[in-house]
Assembly symmetry: C2
Homo-oligomer: 357 residues x 2
């Protein structure tokens, strides 16, 4: 008997902000049916945790981006932690029922995927399946390559991280500590986040950029100026960091969450400081480092197990339908740590998942 399930499709172009209303907004609900039998070269997975990422806004409308835009009418693109329920005959050697995968499932409760779209994961001792989507996944890897390769962090550097309570920023700041930075200064959007970053993660200074005097706090926090800036937000914070750049500073431009929903992004007016201080500013896409992911993951997993990297997740409840509002909330900065939507709780055993079929 065919089982139907929910999908969320990309319905209307944001103008420019995302409208989370599923009845008339950016996204819409749709029902699909699990094929029976599963095609020979496909695997059926149950989606448990859907990743919400700052890049998603760009996937909707970007031109000349690193990735094609999502087509209107198609299931919204997204990564998830999912469990294998069954597979076509050609994939029987590759997966077994109950395997955990990082899936390019998109926003849906189940997904029928090719082997390229479902990467089996081994959960290291002390780790959880969703680590593969955060510290050991693209966000952790983005922090790793952005800080170590693009910015070339060195012992003794003064490092500033914006969006520091986000999934990537949090790892970037901790990696700076591991790599011997003299001072790690975090910028985040609430007193709670700042307290977490200072007390739990051990950053030297954490500044709430919603404080009126955040510029003064930032200036005071970097007496030797900024050697490395890991930018997740853009806008005024990037500008302030440019005005405080040290000689030969390296700015890794990872994201610009403050600008993605803006019709007319704000450019860094202080970019002339790049000349007088010989600043290098470099945009990057973590996928360019894909060949080196396995080695990086191994290092990250070790630091995670040793407690040198701490993780945190912000899990949105309410099932698949909660994803659009979750994405809006991500841009509003509600989360401390990796943001994900719980489509089905982790405690559901594979038998329970299979029983739903």
């Amino acid at each position: 008997m065919a089982r139907s399930y929910k999908q969320i499709i990309y319905a209307n172009t944001p103008s420019p902000a995302i409208d989370p209303d599923l009845s008339k907004g950016t996204f819409a609900l749709k029902t699909a049916t699990i094929p029976d039998p599963i095609p020979d070269d496909k695997v059926l997975v149950r989606v448990h945790y859907l990743s919400l990422d700052p890049a998603m806004r760009n996937w909707l409308t970007a031109k000349r981006s690193y990735i094609a835009p999502v087509e209107r009418g198609a299931v919204m693109r997204g990564q998830s932690i999912a469990q294998v329920l069954s597979m076509g005959r050609n994939l029987k050697g590759q997966y077994k029922v109950g395997d955990w995968v990082v899936a390019l499932s998109g926003w849906q409760e189940y997904a029928v995927l090719g082997a390229q779209e479902a990467e089996k994961i081994v959960v290291p001792p002390g780790c959880r399946p969703w680590d593969a989507m955060s510290v050991l996944g693209l966000t952790g890897l983005t922090a790793y390559f952005g800080l170590l390769e693009v910015a070339g962090v060195k012992p003794g550097d003064t490092v500033v991280v914006s969006g520091a309570a986000g999934a990537t920023g949090m790892v970037a700041g901790q990696l700076a500590k591991i790599k011997g930075a003299k001072r790690v200064v975090a910028l985040a959007g609430s007193a709670d986040k700042c307290s977490f970053l200072k007390n739990e993660l051990g950053f030297d200074v954490a500044i709430n950029y919603k404080d009126e005097d955040w510029r003064k706090q930032l200036k005071n926090a970097v007496p030797d100026y900024i050697d490395v800036y890991f930018d997740n937000v853009g806008g005024e914070i990037l500008d302030a960091c440019l005005s405080l750049a040290a000689r030969n500073a390296r700015f890794a431009i990872c994201g610009a969450i403050s600008q993605y929903n803006s019709a007319k992004p704000q450019g860094p007016a202080n970019y002339l400081m790049m000349i007088s201080q010989r600043v290098t500013m470099k945009g990057f896409i973590v996928l360019d480092f894909a060949e080196r992911f396995p080695a990086a993951r191994k290092e990250l997993a070790q630091w995670l197990q040793e407690g040198k990297i701490k993780r945190k997740e912000y899990i949105v409840k309410g099932g698949l339908e909660a994803a659009p509002q979750g994405l809006v909330d991500l841009y509003a900065g509600v989360n401390t740590g990796k943001m994900m939507v719980e489509v089905a709780p982790l405690t559901e055993a594979v038998e329970a998942n299979r029983a739903t079929l």
Copy 2:
């Protein structure tokens, strides 16, 4: 008998534009007297050609710059081509009367300088003393290191140069050709400049950025997008080039003449293209490459003698007093080629110079 001569001092902070009026503007005239005798460790020079440079506006007010600001009341800073008239006893072995020097003379008719401030030049066959201040001087060296080192130009690159009719831009574009660029596209501010760049210097395309459709012309000129952008102007042109950046493009930020006189510089709003196209943007100061100047000068001199690099000067007449208006005109873009003020014509022989003492 003591001989008096004219100096121009920095009198009032520009607000923000330079006011060339010598009676109440940014600069003021002053009279000085040549010391007699010349101090033991000083050399007396006659200034012939004073260099006018886009960086000068910044020297007046810059904070945290690569160079200390000029102090109010002091002779305005500047380089010149000058001739040695006499020297103190300690420098008799180092200079002889009639030697040509590149002098850190500042804006004055004569200067009494230390040996560090007067670099003897040898004028290569077919060259002129002032080449040491343009193609073989800081402007040529800026083009050389900016294009070859900072931007790392490679054969096959599409190269765009802004401010291309200026002293640095002109050399940068020609070096791109020498280094095997597939296409060199120039931006300049008049039809005459564009015709010169295309017909005399052999650039592939030259676009007058004052044309209404310059953006369209630029887009059409770079079908494979921009690999290297050598930026002298900033502002809207930098922004347009970012939107046309090729994957892994390198942007050398040399100057921003469109922004120096602006109270609130305009940041590049399209900087997010740096992420999707993995653009590296790098500010630089040519003085950082000082150790390599001799080797670079040798190469540049060879290309100049072989006719692979063509030079052009824009010489402001009217003596020292013409310098402030000349500087204003530089920012307005009147010049094609290296801009200099003729304080005393080159044809004045050393005997004539000495006779003035």
